[in-house]
Symmetry: C2
Subunit: 212 residues, 2 copies
């Protein structure tokens, strides 16, 4: 197991901690959405954004004119990726909980200036393998309008909560339903546009992205 | 429509903005998970936590000893609630997007000291209507071990993205599948503990919480 830094060492429920790169990568790959804390004019702010991993860095993108991306470039940030996997119903209110997988990464946000186009291609291919070469080619103007940001995964922690309720022995006979209600992100039936070509191959979604 | 503050006025895609309390409440009620940006020793941090609404305030809870809750009490924070509703596949990579509902709230986090027990009951009832009175009663010691936090919804914005790809006219004939892949949080079959009483009424989940 990799060693946590003083900042990333879990104090609450240290038994749920995992500092291994493989676990951290798997959680980031399992969900396309990240929340990033940054400072804007001295106050903390959250940015909700899509994020994807390439090797030991996580990336996100937006407008070259975005206030959020401008404010965080070169600055300390904290990025979180979270999945909510179930509701845990115990015999007491106090012991209720949820199942989850969660990663927190700390570091400085870096504005990517080299190879922006390749990272944008990686974003598309991460979500929709094989789609890039089917698309109307990207233009230099589109790349210019876009900012790509990166964060190194060297200072990160995972916290994973699985299993059912952990009522103490004296509560277990209480006559109430106890157990888990599973939750998961469901992928629905693709809905083509009216003018989407009927003979075009249907979209492929690599939802749960493999690690590389 | 309520007026945004200078901080909560959307600059990017202002057409997706909604500052109405009813919309803001509905987004918060639609998802149990929030991400809160706060400052810890001068650096921005994210807390992933369950959150629930009562009237014009949003609440969350944790350990009385939590470093995160201690650091944010009385301080400026930014809270975000987000649902990811679909992936939008366009003819160019540039026009790809997602459907979402998202709320951002800014203000000072307040540590709740009066009526903590009633707020914890409200949390349980918000998720599982009718469950509170079936549970082993909460003890004073459990309430003491728990911190309840609140944030006023007076400075908030919603950003809502619906609809399909918005390719410019000249791209629409490109021969690639275009449309939307819907995403939603799926509630699975409840899994009782081995010693959950077989005659206990099954759990009730008020997933998409009505506004009050
Ligand atoms: C879906 C979900 C729902 C949650 N709901 C609640 C809730 O309702 N109430 C509640 O108190 N907590 C909740 N948590 C846990 C919460 O995210 C914190 O872990 C917890 O509140 C302790 O915070 P702390 O700062 O006091 O922890 P500490 O243990 O002091 O944090 C120290 C370090 O541990 C690491 N760490 C802490 N939390 C996480 C995490 N979630 N993921 C990865 N690394 C982490 C970070 O590097 C952090 O700097 C939830 C988590 C998830 C994913
Ligand atoms: C599921 C999801 C995925 C997203 N993916 C991306 C992505 O990959 N790339 C990207 O650039 N953006 C993405 N966004 C949008 C992102 O959250 C920001 O709205 C956008 O990046 C503009 O940020 P900004 O600070 O420059 O906006 P500005 O318009 O300058 O923000 C001004 C104010 O508008 C309000 N506001 C801004 N964003 C939101 C929001 N999301 N919800 C509620 N109020 C808001 C806030 O009060 C903010 O202070 C995504 C949003 C969601 C919900
Ligand atoms: C799978 C591929 C992609 C997805 C799912 C995606 C998704 C998104 C989303 C959700 C936003 C935020 C919209 C909002 O604020 O409401 C966004 C913004 C943006 N994207 Fe992408 N994107 C993708 C690929 C690309 C590519 C390849 C480029 C550049 C060539 C690009 C350029 C931009 C720009 C410039 C913005 C900012 C728009 C603005 O704020 O004015 N995107 N994208
Ligand atoms: C539906 C009801 C509830 C749910 C779903 C719930 C869920 C959670 C979750 C997910 C955590 C974080 C666990 C972690 O860090 O991994 C937590 C922590 C905590 N909850 Fe709850 N909770 C509920 C009700 C209550 C009630 C009623 C109380 C008090 C009477 C309470 C007291 C606490 C305390 C003290 C902690 C901190 C534990 C620690 O860090 O040591 N919870 N809860």
């Amino acid at each position: 197991m990799t060693e946590p830094s003083d900042r990333t060492r879990l104090r609450r429920f240290p038994g749920k901690a995992d500092y291994d790169a493989a676990t951290i990568h798997a959680v980031i790959d399992a969900a396309p959405l990240a929340h990033i804390a940054y400072q804007m004019e001295g106050a903390p702010m959250v940015l909700s954004t899509l994020a994807w991993r390439e090797g030991t860095r996580v990336f996100w993108h937006g407008s070259s004119a975005s206030r959020a991306l401008r404010a965080m470039a070169g600055q300390p940030i904290c990025l979180s990726v979270t999945t909510l996997d179930g509701l845990v119903l115990a015999r007491s209110a106090f012991e209720h909980s949820v199942q989850f997988r969660s990663v927190m990464v700390m570091g400085r946000a870096e504005e990517v200036t080299e190879g922006k186009a390749a990272h944008l291609e990686a974003m598309v291919e991460r979500l929709f393998p094989g789609r890039w070469e089917q698309l109307r080619p990207m233009t230099a103007q589109e790349v210019k309008a876009t900012k790509v940001m990166a964060l190194d995964l060297s200072e990160a922690s995972a916290k994973i909560a699985t299993g059912g309720p952990e009522d103490p022995e004296e509560d277990r006979a209480w006559p109430v339903w106890a157990g888990v209600i599973p939750l998961s992100l469901q992928v629905g039936e693709p809905q083509p546009e009216a003018d989407s070509p009927p003979d075009a191959p249907p979209p492929v979604l690599r939802w749960s992205l493999e690690t590389d």
